[in-house]
């Protein structure tokens, strides 16, 4: 469902970057830009109170928004 929001936003002038835990699923939906993270379901931005990881996730996700649609990246530790 989140991928549908991403597609609708891109069609209407908002660039998107989305975290994915299941890349096969987000690829099938055609999510424009995704960053695959190695975290568990329910913890897409890392473990509680690990703010160092949280900052890296946000920084890398934001940088992804500037890349062409169709870009897939892996989260870098």
């Amino acid at each position: 469902m989140l991928g549908l929001y991403a597609r609708a936003l891109e069609e209407r002038g908002t660039a998107t970057a989305m975290i994915t835990i299941l890349p096969e699923v987000t690829d099938a939906v055609g999510v424009p830009r995704t960053m695959h993270v190695p975290f568990k379901l329910g913890r897409p931005c890392g473990e509680p109170f690990d703010f160092e990881t949280r900052k890296k996730v946000v920084d890398q996700l934001l940088a992804l928004a500037m890349k062409p649609s169709g870009t897939r990246i892996e989260y870098q530790e």
Binding site: M1, L2, Y5, A8, A15, I19, P48, F51, L62, S69
Partner: protein
């Protein structure tokens, strides 16, 4: 939450935790494949951009109406979270993942303070006032596509959001 919903939640979380491959297959089976790849090209640097967060983790203000998790079809509605919302004002209502961790630290599904910090440093212009909480796990998405998405799109256009960062549950 009804007792029946609690049982459904426990079974779902146990399924996705213990059988990740089967969970992935189940999810893929229910995906409507889409063709083409829409694109908005950012025409300005990050420091001039307004950024919003959208998440299907079921996040909402404690003062707001929780998502209706007792509805077997899921809850296709959305909740808005202002840029200045503090962690202690937030909670999550979701039955398809273990919400214990997100209730302890909402930033694991909704990194709003980290986004605000980028504003403070001048790396982005601002955080939008239309950050969106959704309740994931909806397999039949027509109500989402016909009702909720057009409303959220109108809010984003009105607020002139340049970038949306999307976080699953």
């Amino acid at each position: 939450m009804k007792r029946k919903t609690k049982v459904k939640s426990k079974l779902s979380v146990a399924f996705s935790t213990n059988f990740p491959e089967a969970y992935k297959k189940f999810t893929l089976k229910h995906v409507n494949e889409r063709q083409g790849m829409p694109e908005t090209v950012l025409a300005k640097p990050f420091r001039e951009c307004k950024v919003a967060l959208i998440t299907t983790s079921g996040i909402h203000l404690k003062s707001d109406r929780p998502f209706d998790v007792d509805n077997p079809a899921g809850d296709p509605t959305y909740r808005l979270i202002p840029a200045a919302a503090q962690e202690e004002e937030l909670t999550v209502t979701h039955i398809y993942y273990n919400t214990k961790f997100a209730k302890t630290d909402p930033t694991i599904v909704f990194p709003l303070p980290q986004l605000r910090a980028l504003t403070d440093k001048g790396e982005i212009r601002s955080v939008a006032d239309v950050n969106v909480g959704l309740n994931g796990g909806i397999l039949e998405t027509s109500a989402v596509e016909q009702e909720a998405i057009p409303k959220v799109m109108a809010l984003f256009e009105n607020e002139q959001v340049d970038i949306a960062l999307l976080v699953p549950g």
